[in-house]
């Protein structure tokens, strides 16, 4: 959630680069609605059935607070044709990618700067 707060604060820098931010967790719709209200400039996805997480293989078994499966923190950058351009996963759940690094990855992989 810290990461989402940072992205919300700097959403205009992503908009300027013509990039939308979609945040996905396996929260149910009600919980995802609360997250959406907290971060109105991000697009929040409720992936309660983990269809998306399974398709992209980002499930971290047993890592949820209750011992269940949850998403391993993972960031995937897609261009507007839907092709993957960059993938990042931190080596620990204690770390988060900084917005500056994301913006640099967008400039490098989408805008070829």
């Amino acid at each position: 959630m810290i990461e989402l707060g940072q992205l919300e604060k700097r959403h205009e820098e992503f908009s300027k680069r013509n990039v939308r931010i979609v945040a996905i967790s396996n929260d149910d719709r009600e919980t995802a609605g609360k997250t959406q209200a907290d971060f109105p400039n991000l697009l929040i996805v409720s992936d309660a059935e983990q269809n998306l997480a399974r398709a992209v293989e980002v499930i971290h078994p047993g890592a949820a607070q209750d011992g269940g499966d949850t998403n391993a923190p993972t960031t995937i950058l897609l261009n507007n044709a839907g092709y993957v351009r960059w993938v990042f996963r931190p080596d620990s759940v204690m770390t988060r990618i900084a917005p500056d690094r994301l913006l640099a990855a967008i400039d490098e992989n989408i805008h070829n700067k």
């Binding site: 990039v19 409720s46 897609l78 993938v87 988060r96 990618i97």
Partner: protein
């Protein structure tokens, strides 16, 4: 006339050790509050280890029940920090199908407002940054 001998002044090693351990915890709290979490907080168990060594030196110099109990507590705390930072909080390397140059596999999910969201929705006028996170705890 002889002066009564005074014991040599010693560094308060145990207290210093406690301060080292607490400074690591305080550093992490500050990092979280400033949202500066882009690096692994190795300083957390690292400072705890230095602190425990100082406490062990103190207990060696001036043995006492309280010192040994305190040392035992901080050794456990230090070991727990190493366990969490070095093992339990590690994430597996990504080995899924989303590799640069590929398209995402087909999927369906739901936006928070109830609208559907699928692989067809990642194409359009904008690039998309998918952020998978651990959910609202």
């Amino acid at each position: 006339m002889e002066h009564p001998s005074t014991p040599p002044r010693r560094w308060p090693l145990f207290l210093l050790g406690v301060l080292f351990v607490l400074s690591g915890v305080a550093g992490y709290v500050v990092a979280v509050s400033l949202a500066r979490l882009d690096h692994m907080p190795w300083y957390l168990p690292g400072l705890a280890t230095v602190g425990v060594l100082l406490m062990a030196a103190s207990a060696w110099q001036r043995p006492g029940v309280l010192r040994f109990v305190g040392l035992g507590f901080f050794v456990l705390l230090c070991a727990t920090e190493w366990l969490f930072v070095g093992v339990l909080f590690k994430t597996p390397a990504y080995q899924g199908p989303a590799v640069p140059g590929s398209k995402l596999p087909a999927f369906t999910a739901t936006l928070a407002d109830g609208r559907p969201f699928s692989n067809a929705d990642v194409k359009g006028s904008q690039a998309t940054l998918l952020i998978f996170f651990r959910g609202r705890w």
